[in-house]
């Protein structure tokens, strides 16, 4: 057992001495096309203006696997196991080569999506949730998870306005509907249900993302500012092991003050 190190979701990385993490890991989560990247693009300069060093990271951006995953997605040859494992490899690469070093050096790491996206997708695809969660047991627990919550009715025009409905984000691999529109609606409804469920379990700070870009941004900034000032964020009620991260967060904030 590694109970000395509760900064990981599971048993962590036994061969790695994590040491003090001076920085903060802030995650922006939410379903496809909800507008995460737009918001992060604006958060970055705002934080930098205040003098914080910011590192951006996002899903499938590891130099090791980005190409492999995009190619495999194009070829439609993946199933829930290979999908999850490729995401886990991408995440492990970024975690050890980018996220942890940045946190050690005192940066704010802004992550566009985190493992919750895989948890949501896998739940919809029917993988055993226990398996997915144990697979990501080496993940560092974030300091703040900002969840952009939206309903499918508001999501549809946003998806169509931005880049359209793509094969995977419409869940076409699950054959949920007669056409891409029906499939998108059903798939995203299920995904959103999973995110909502996780909001409690992993204590997301929920941001109403049905509003305008500016309103959402304002809300995100206010939440981050409160966190950086050492205040406890207002999260969904906690259950189970999630309580650990709150203790860690308090400890970290106290150490900084």
């Amino acid at each position: 057992m590694h109970d000395a190190d509760k900064r990981f979701y599971g048993n962590g990385l036994p061969y790695l001495k994590l040491g003090p993490l001076k920085g903060s890991l802030i995650v922006v989560e939410g379903t496809d096309s909800v507008g995460r990247s737009t918001q992060i693009e604006r958060l970055t300069p705002w934080l930098e203006l205040q003098g914080y060093g910011v590192v951006n990271t996002g899903w499938i951006r590891s130099p090791l696997l980005a190409e492999t995953i995009n190619e495999a997605k194009a070829g439609h040859e993946l199933n829930v196991m290979t999908f999850s494992l490729l995401y886990a490899a991408d995440f492990a690469d970024r975690l050890e080569n980018q996220i942890i070093p940045a946190l050690r050096a005192g940066f704010i790491v802004l992550a566009d999506r985190y493992l919750y996206t895989v948890f949501a997708r896998n739940a919809v695809m029917g993988a055993a949730p226990e398996w997915t969660r144990r697979l990501f047991g080496f993940a560092v627990v974030p300091d703040l998870v900002l969840y952009q919550k939206i309903d499918v009715r508001h999501l549809i025009p946003r998806a169509l306005e931005s880049k359209g409905m793509d094969y995977w984000e419409s869940g076409m691999h699950l054959r949920l509907g007669s056409d891409i529109f029906d499939s998108f609606r059903r798939y995203q409804t299920r995904l959103i249900r999973e995110y909502d469920r996780m909001a409690d379990e992993f204590s997301f700070v929920t941001i109403d993302a049905t509003r305008t870009i500016d309103e959402i941004q304002e809300d995100l900034r206010a939440t981050i500012a409160r966190y950086l000032a050492g205040e406890q964020p207002v999260t969904s009620p906690r259950r189970g092991a999630g309580g650990v991260s709150r203790l860690v967060r308090r400890g970290r904030v106290a150490a900084r003050a």
Partner: protein, 231 residues
């Protein structure tokens, strides 16, 4: 998802796998078994560890640029395995064929744990792997395997020697240190998963006789090499 390593798989085919450190001679043995089974008229499919096209590029890139950490190294092998399981192992098992696998999940349980990843974590990651009908472990002392590799191909491979762990700058010494740890873990795996052990220092033909006897029993064939020759 399949029932995992603790319960027999539901497929009509049979899964036979071989394990052992590099230089244990397992590949030679499984090749001989393959030939024998084909000669007996069986439909056989052969698959090998770390051979899927899906992760080949990432693996090559990671090794070349030294990007791999013990965890990403471990997960990439799991991707390879999951991909082969989907396309190469489960379909022939469902079709009632015999699948021969050179290395299986026990390789990850040995090597990756020797590299420092959590042993529970790696077992959970491979939780979808079907239990083999026969798993043979070729046990060999470190010096014997080292001699076999050095006389065969004269150069030790970087990861095979555990050079990524910085145990020693000398490849042979690093191999000794790293693979000795793997050997210790294999012995634990023999007990945990009930692997069948063969003494890999014995003559090739002697070992093969044992391998064929074990396979014949699992596959419900008439035993022995002699019988096969007579046909």
């Amino acid at each position: 998802m399949t029932p995992g390593l603790t319960t027999p798989h539901p497929y009509p085919g049979k899964l036979i796998i071989v394990e052992g450190i590099d230089g244990s001679g397992k590949s030679t043995q499984i090749a001989l078994l393959h030939r024998w089974l084909l000669g007996r008229g069986l439909k056989v499919f052969f698959t090998e560890w770390n051979s899927s096209a899906l992760v080949r590029r990432a693996m090559r890139r990671g090794k070349k640029k030294d990007l791999l950490t013990p965890t990403s190294f471990s997960i990439l092998h799991a991707v390879d395995f999951a991909d082969r399981l989907t396309y190469k192992i489960v379909p022939p098992l469902k079709a009632g064929m015999t699948v021969l696998a050179d290395r299986y999940v026990y390789t990850a349980f040995g090597r990756d744990v020797a590299r420092g990843v959590d042993s529970e974590w790696v077992r959970a990651m491979y939780g979808f792997a079907p239990r083999p009908d026969l798993a043979i472990y070729f046990r060999v002392p470190i010096e014997v395997s080292l001699q076999r590799i050095l006389t065969g191909r004269t150069k030790l491979k970087y990861h095979e020697a555990g050079m990524d762990l910085g145990l020693s700058r000398d490849p042979a010494e690093s191999f000794r240190l790293f693979q000795s740890q793997v050997l210790v873990i294999y012995d634990e795996l023999v007990r945990e998963f009930g692997l069948s052990v063969i003494d890999a220092t014995a003559d090739i033909s002697q070992q093969q006789q044992q391998v064929r006897a074990m396979a014949a029993e699992v596959l419900g064939l008439d035993k022995g090499i002699r019988h096969a020759r007579r046909r």
